[in-house]
């Protein structure tokens, strides 16, 4: 979890974990971080945290908020940023492990944090930023079980015996201008689709139509006179 280290004159006063979506800073007692000092406005600033990202926003405080010596209105916090409010300093320490894990998670599970609603603080500021129509929260998809690898082996022609691993999301087969088909690697399997040419691919002796056809282990494909076998790899 990311955190803020509050200090004054080099003396560490407090360590504040960023475990809330909205963490307010100010002189008034209702703030999450109350700093009872006249240089601090009643409602001075707010830190908004969404997953691994934190934003600092100054709430039109009288004396302003500095980050790394520069006055800011809104700021995307980065590791080791120093926030200054009057004589007080807050050091932002990002949780680098979590952000790496979060991004991995996003990638693998294909969940985008974009679907989370932004807190209102960041949405509208004198109407110059518009929130995109937000789509409801997706039900969390199951992390796809890793698809087994697959390959095709040529059965005839000059390159008979040659193997071609299907590692990319699209692999083309055939001769451009004559007949081309493509094998798409999708989360739930491998699919062959006709791309161009008058002849359609033949799988296990049957000609396909324009629809994608799901390939099964040991299916035999024929494209432009070349026969090849599709097989899954352990």
């Amino acid at each position: 979890m990311a955190k803020l280290i509050l200090s004054m004159d080099g003396l560490v006063l407090k360590e504040i974990p960023l475990n809330k979506e909205r963490l307010s800073i100010g002189r008034k007692p209702h703030n999450d971080i109350q700093i009872d000092n006249l240089a601090i406005s009643g409602d001075h600033a707010v830190v908004v945290t969404i997953l691994a990202d934190s934003f600092l926003e100054d709430l039109n405080s009288t004396n302003g908020t500095l980050v790394n010596g520069q006055p800011i209105k809104k700021h995307f916090l980065r590791n080791n940023d120093i926030i200054e409010l009057g004589k007080y300093k807050l050091k932002y320490l990002a949780d680098l492990q979590a952000s790496v894990a979060a991004s991995d998670f996003e990638r693998n599970a294909a969940i985008r944090s974009g679907q989370l609603k932004m807190p209102s603080e960041l949405q509208l500021e004198s109407g110059d930023t518009i929130t995109r129509s937000s789509v409801g929260l997706a039900s969390v998809p199951k992390p796809p079980s890793p698809l087994p690898g697959a390959a095709i082996q040529l059965l005839n022609g000059p390159n008979a015996g040659k193997e071609l691993d299907l590692t990319k999301t699209l692999t083309t087969l055939g001769k451009p201008g004559l007949q081309v088909a493509v094998i798409a690697k999708r989360p739930h399997g491998f699919f062959i689709t006709h791309v161009e040419g008058r002849q359609f691919p033949v799988v296990n002796g049957r000609s396909l139509d324009a629809q994608a056809y799901p390939l099964g282990d040991h299916d035999v494909i024929e494209i432009a006179g070349i026969k090849m076998e599709f097989f899954l790899k352990g």
């Binding site: 969404i50 979060a102 932004m118 995109r132 798409a184 791309v195």
Partner: protein, 297 residues
């Protein structure tokens, strides 16, 4: 403001209420394929799409706003622009500008039409509480005399594949892009940032809109992609490029595959794709579309 003009027979506006629409138009020098889908998460499509090879015009608008207002905003912008630009493109002023290669005049005409569409959406939003706060992004490309003029507002994009080079020709008007530009975050951080849905410019939000417009050259074999953020948020640029290179021979398949990729990766948002392949050179003294019209007469 609504219902302005009528659609020529060969034009079509995709009704955002349809669940899924895909269609190819092949006419003269441009081949166009369109695919739009609500995605996996949402049941309705707030994207609106228009493409017409005869006019050489392609438009995507991605609406925003509560209830159905997003669909209203994007539909309104697209319908209006399609009708108005059809008229403008046929006007003698624009024909002359095309022949003279007068980019400034062409851009000015397009800007006028986008501004008018902006005002129409703004006016509708202001006059009905149901539509309050609605807006839409826009990306529009008009092909003329071996060039294309591209206007955009918000985070809908235009890419061009030329040979092996796949380039993004528009720059998003989004908070994320502004943070990138100011160096607040790195491109690596931006990939996983949570605020990718905030746009800084949109059609219909203010009485006037700041439209970014530019003209690019186009050559035979180019494939131009217009898309809503439902595509580029879910699919990496390299995957998009691979799909265009591999499936460019079958444009509709390429368009459908891109939508499928976005849905396979989670399909968080509506996704719309227009692909335009330049089949022939269309630089002549007389406009290619004019020759086409003469042929049709």
């Amino acid at each position: 403001m609504l219902g302005h003009g009528c659609q020529p027979a060969s034009c079509f506006v995709l009704d955002p209420f349809f669940r899924k629409i895909a269609r190819v138009i092949t006419e003269n020098c441009l081949e166009i394929a369109v695919s739009t889908d609500p995605g996996v998460v949402s049941s309705h499509n707030e994207d609106s799409v228009f493409a017409d090879a005869r006019l050489g015009l392609a438009i995507i608008a991605d609406g925003m706003g509560g209830y159905n207002a997003g669909e209203v905003a994007s539909g309104m912008a697209t319908t209006r622009l399609a009708a108005d630009l059809d008229r403008v493109i046929s006007s003698s002023a624009l024909q002359a500008a095309c022949q003279a290669g007068d980019t400034a005049t062409i851009e000015r005409h397009l800007l006028n039409e986008v501004s008018a569409a902006n005002f129409a959406v703004f006016h509708a939003a202001a006059s009905s509480s149901r539509y309050a706060g609605m807006g839409t992004t826009l990306v529009l490309a008009w092909f003329h005399n071996n060039r294309m003029t591209v206007a955009h507002v918000g985070d809908s994009r235009l890419y061009r594949l030329r040979g092996d080079e796949f380039a993004l020709l528009t720059r998003d008007h989004s908070l994320l892009q502004e943070q990138l530009d100011s160096g607040m975050i790195t491109p690596e951080e931006a990939r996983y940032a949570g605020n990718r849905n905030l746009v800084t410019r949109a059609l219909g939000v203010d009485p006037a809109v700041d439209v970014e417009i530019g003209t690019f050259d186009v050559s035979r074999g180019d494939i131009v992609l217009l898309c809503s953020d439902g595509l580029n948020d879910m699919v990496e640029d390299e995957e998009i490029a691979l799909a265009l290179r591999t499936l460019g021979g079958n444009l509709q398949l390429a368009a459908d595959h891109l939508v499928q990729l976005a849905n396979d990766n989670g399909g968080r948002d509506n996704v719309s794709v227009i692909l335009i392949k330049v089949r022939e050179d269309f630089a002549t003294g007389r406009n290619w579309w004019q020759r086409m019209r003469d042929m049709l007469k």
